[in-house]
């Protein structure tokens, strides 16, 4: 049995060594991700540009997520409005509902929900696709046929997610607004014009800008994490599974961290 030792203190040393190797592996991974990001900036803005592939990827990321985003955005709008009403009704303040919905959707829910949905759908798909290409040597085949696979596969996807996710987030906000309006109109009989007026009234330019910046950051994160995981996938089908899973989990985690950081920064400007 490995745990039995004649020398006291050996298991403690073993544990410490294991911990140290984990910490060093974490920093090594962190260093690799940073190199990957640096490579992206080095290659993305140097010709030849892959415009056709970027448009195709934008279509893949944006258009193919449309149905899911529509349903989710609508449900978020309806549910948020429905759940907020009783609390406001207690104070006789249901007329503030559109303002509350607008602040929640524009400042937090639209970019966050879109990013989470995209992490699951787009991030996993990028991780699995590139992982599978790595495992079946398609990336090597691209490289030996005189094509830079980083530029063709990674740069295009990261640019596409960075462009498409802010558009999707804006769309989510519109659909969420519609969901909120339907609920308010059903219960309060508020007209569409009055709802829209009340919706936009509490919002400032900073809210729109912060929301847009957040979506851009989230989009970049989802793209780069998915590509990093897929591009560096391990061997076999297990490698593909891990790449897809790693893409989703890491992207979601980073999205929440970024949300906190951006909210703190934007808070200083209010």
């Amino acid at each position: 049995m490995e745990s039995v030792t004649t020398r006291p203190g050996q298991p403690v040393r073993k544990k410490r060594n294991k911990l140290l190797s984990r910490i060093s592996a974490f920093f090594a991974e962190f260093y690799q991700i940073n190199l990957f990001i640096l490579r992206f900036f080095k290659e993305a803005f140097v010709p030849p540009f892959e415009f056709k592939e970027i448009v195709r990827q934008c279509y893949e990321v944006g258009v193919r997520s449309f149905t899911l985003i529509t349903v989710t955005g609508f449900i978020v709008g309806v549910i948020f409005t429905k759940q907020s009403r009783p609390s406001l009704a207690d104070f006789g303040a249901t007329s503030w509902l559109p303002s509350l919905v607008s602040i929640a959707i524009m400042r937090a829910l639209a970019p966050l929900v879109t990013a989470l949905i995209a992490s699951g759908k787009v991030g996993s798909s990028i991780g699995a696709e590139l992982g599978s290409m790595r495992v079946t040597e398609q990336i090597d085949a691209m490289e030996v046929s005189g094509t830079n696979p980083f530029k063709y596969l990674v740069c295009t996807r990261v640019i596409a997610t960075t462009i498409a996710i802010p558009i999707l987030a804006t769309y989510t906000a519109v659909i969420g607004l519609l969901g909120g309006y339907l609920n308010v109109s059903e219960n309060e009989g508020t007209s569409y014009t009055a709802f829209v007026q009340a919706f936009f009234q509490p919002l400032s330019f900073l809210d729109f800008t912060a929301s847009l910046i957040k979506s851009v950051v989230f989009g970049f994160t989802i793209g780069i994490v998915g590509c990093y995981q897929g591009f560096n996938a391990g061997a076999g089908t297990e490698g593909v599974g891990k790449a897809a899973n790693g893409a989703v989990v890491t992207a979601m985690f980073l999205v929440f961290i970024e949300e906190i950081v951006i909210v703190q920064i934007v808070g200083n400007f209010r």
């Binding site: 040597e137 398609q138 085949a141 030996v144 046929s145 005189g146 094509t147 830079n148």
Partner: protein, 257 residues
Amino acid sequence: MEKEKTKIDYNNTVIKIKGLEKAFEDFAVLRGIDLDLYQGENLVVLGRSGSGKSVLIKLISGLLRPDKGSIEVLGQDISKLNDKALQQLRIRIGFSFQNSALYDSMTVRKNLEFPLVRNRRGITRKEIDDAVESVLDGVGLLQTINQMPAELSGGQRKRIGIARTLILNPEIMLYDEPTAGLDPITCTEINDLINKVQLKYDTSSIIITHDLTCAKSTGDRVAMLLDGKFQRTGSFEEVFDTKDERVKRFFDYNFIE
């Protein structure tokens, strides 16, 4: 089909390898490889699984970096090339992968067009179509032009993989286990195709395999890779005319058992 006599230019070395070493972590795979590949020659590298055969051609194509030694391909030392120069050199080398490595999101036509469109800027649509159809016809699979890779058999995928490399008219072909996982009839077809490519495109090739039938029918010269080094090099008969038990056992397993 018997291999036709080919014209080999022994004064023209297309690949020159000296003292090549490669290790993965603590495991030394290649321990000092020296090799010359001549213009027009088919060289077969034989060896057991995990002996470093595929590593060797990945080093030649620049997919891996050597730990020690030099690799000169078409007069250029690949470890000294920058990314752009390496990319230009790779266009002159065809690489047929063990699992074909066809882009599975593209049709056969798109697979073949891909390297052409990306490396021949300004090429017209008609030129692309003509090149794709001609090379597909050459491997006898013109009828599969609009099919997806998933719809093809193993042998067809191999042939399409070879066709995709041929579309850029490479001077050197690197075949990684061209007959692995195929039935004997399809193996013979692939062997014939390798010989046909050598004659038609005037290529020099390295064929990585552990299939002795493939080695015998395609190789002008055979090199046996054992313990990270070429232990025997020569014609097929010369290589196996030995008392070395490891070489004899390799031969016996292929032809007797």
